[in-house]
């Protein structure tokens, strides 16, 4: 029973990373209509920036997190302005942006390789909270609690932002039709920047937290998050934050339980079987909405 609970928390924490990462990916996809192949590199870069802020400048843990989040957001905004804005101006659609995002993922990945000297770095012990919290039945590492809370706070916060505020209404309007939104008085340029910033920041948060808890700060970090975060987005429904968060948590728990109770070699297999089942049975995802625009 104790093992079961411990693994449940492990899976939940892992899944929270996938969810956090997926939220940003889904946000960009639904609001800006961009299938962003460079999204994983934001996480890698956030983790690298956080790492350097700790090792070079001795930043405390909360500052390292803040550096990662801000760094992810700034990288995302820069990529958006350099790679996507010129294409938006000529209405090149989803395809052009996909290619420029691939271009940026190549550039940022290889720069990340230079920054880490092609090694996998780990945050030095003692620079992040690593005590165990006693919950009665089981003891849980502090990092896991922080990760789980981070997803809960971010997911509910962004959900509230999108569904209940004027800014969120503007974001949904731009996602539906940018021109119509502009006619309705929405400053779509600002909405686009805000969306990119939010997406980069959540991805960055996932990157820093993931880099700390998996002791792996390298370009491979973003790649791994990308594959699983993408699965979470497809299972959850890309236009709903809640779906992505729930799906991310489920995928993490499934992954850990399969590794624990069935076989470690099926660890990834089950995730994708789950994904396939969803694609066949409920292709628009857990909470995805039905779209009536297509003839």
């Amino acid at each position: 029973m104790q093992l079961f609970l411990e693994q449940l928390v492990n899976g939940w924490a892992l899944g929270s990373l996938y969810g956090l990462f997926g939220i940003g990916f889904g946000l960009v996809f639904s609001t800006l209509g961009i299938l962003n192949a460079a999204h994983g590199t934001y996480a890698s870069w956030a983790a690298i920036l956080g790492y350097f802020s700790v090792t070079q400048f001795g930043a405390p843990f909360p500052v390292a997190i803040a550096v990662g989040v801000l760094g992810g957001g700034i990288v995302a905004v820069a990529v958006d302005q350099i790679a996507f804005q010129p294409l938006r101006a000529v209405k090149a659609g989803m395809l052009g942006a996909l290619i420029t995002s691939i271009a940026f993922s190549i550039i940022l990945d290889s720069l990340a390789g230079f920054a880490t000297e092609h090694q996998s770095l780990a945050f030095p012990a003692g620079t992040y909270p690593r005590q165990m919290v006693d919950l009665g039945v089981i003891k849980v590492p502090q990092m896991q609690i922080i990760t789980i809370l981070a997803l809960l706070v971010c997911a509910s916060g962004i959900y509230f932002l999108i569904q209940k505020t004027r800014i969120g209404a503007a974001m949904r309007a731009v996602g539906w039709n940018e021109t119509a939104a502009a006619l309705g008085g929405v400053n779509s340029r600002m909405v686009i920047l805000l969306t990119a910033l939010l997406a980069g920041a959540t991805s960055g948060l996932a990157g820093v937290l993931g880099g700390i808890s998996t002791s792996n700060v390298s370009y491979a970090l973003g790649e791994g998050l990308m594959l699983k975060g993408f699965a979470a987005v497809v299972v959850g429904g890309y236009d709903d934050i809640r779906g992505t968060a729930i799906a991310g948590i489920c995928l993490g728990i499934i992954e850990v339980f399969v590794a624990q109770y069935i076989s470690t070699s099926f660890r990834d297999g089950f995730t994708y079987i789950f994904l396939l089942a969803f694609l066949v049975a409920r292709p628009r995802g857990l909470l995805g909405s039905v779209n009536f625009t297509r003839a």
Binding site: F104, S110, I273
Partner: protein, 297 residues
């Protein structure tokens, strides 16, 4: 003569891989030209590649039998996928097909009997560059004929606006289904061509790398013209070699920057029929510079 042989020794493999990538790009173009963004080409390639490899390894089938078998298998897989996924809205279609690529790798990893699993498969046959060139020429000829046929016109209508197309009596779903099957056939052939080029395939072979190069090839070259994917695939395959010759230290960065620049300045690709028409019309009247004039190769 010797110089030619030297050149071939240095760049022969680039040419061969450019031809293989051209198959993938054509396969992607087939579905893009009816307005569907799909990464399923990788799936068809995997099916065609592993089938062709196994046929040659176990039954010693000659290449000219293995290629059609791969084509048929790819086409059948495409028909199944199209039946299951074409009902999806276009954004979802892109996501779902990308997810299928990930699933394909996992399936291939866990079916060692068919695919060799993690260890991969050694392919005991090799396609000569000439054979590949003939096959690619044939495929390109078919796409050229399709482009100038009623089907090409109809698919353009479906791509621009399915709703308008259906009011004109065009069944968009059926056109998209046909395009998918064509994509599957070409993708299967491409997968087999890759298997007979590398002579070693594993689940890693048919993965995101192909997805990136096929979509980049198609869009770089221009997804509005039959020649676009071939040109794009050549450019995209030759890019790393060229860049390496100039700036070996930052090869990847330079490759990304070139890709970015091409897309930003030529968002409709290197070969753009609209820009060609504009230029032709312009030459007839007054010789004024036209936006997108550089798009013509």
């Amino acid at each position: 003569m010797e110089k030619v042989l030297d050149l071939w020794a240095a760049y022969g493999s680039t040419v061969v891989f450019a031809m293989v990538n051209a198959f993938f790009a054509l396969s992607t173009y087939a579905v893009l030209s009816v307005g569907v963004l799909s990464f399923a080409t990788v799936v068809f390639a995997a099916i065609g590649g592993f089938l062709a490899a196994q046929m040659v390894a176990h039954f010693q089938t000659p290449l000219f039998v293995a290629f059609p078998l791969a084509a048929i298998a790819g086409g059948l897989a495409a028909a199944v996928l199209a039946a299951a996924f074409l009902k999806l809205e276009s954004h979802w279609m892109a996501l779902a097909s990308l997810a299928l690529v990930l699933i394909t790798k996992v399936v291939a990893l866990n079916a060692p009997l068919l695919t060799g699993g993690v260890n991969g498969l050694i392919v005991p046959a090799k396609a000569s560059p000439l054979e590949l060139a003939v096959l690619l020429g044939l495929a390109t000829l078919i796409f050229y004929r399709l482009y100038h046929s009623w089907f090409g016109l109809i698919s353009l209508a479906v791509r621009e606006d399915p709703a308008v197309a259906s009011t004109m009596g065009i069944p968009p779903r059926r056109i998209q289904f046909i395009a998918f099957v064509i994509s599957g056939i070409v993708g299967g052939v491409g997968g087999a061509a890759l298997a007979f080029t590398l002579q070693f395939i594993s689940p890693e072979t048919y993965f995101i790398g192909i997805a990136f190069s096929m979509i980049a090839g198609t869009v770089l070259g221009g997804s509005f013209h039959w020649l676009g994917p071939v040109v794009g695939a050549v450019v995209f395959t030759a890019l790393p070699t060229t860049v390496q010759a100039f700036v070996p230290q930052i090869e990847d960065v330079a490759k990304g920057v070139v890709l970015l620049l091409i897309m930003v300045f030529l968002p409709r690709g290197l070969i753009d029929p609209r820009a060609m028409r504009l230029r032709k019309a312009n030459q007839k009247t007054t010789p004024q510079p036209v936006a997108g004039k550089d798009a013509v190769v």
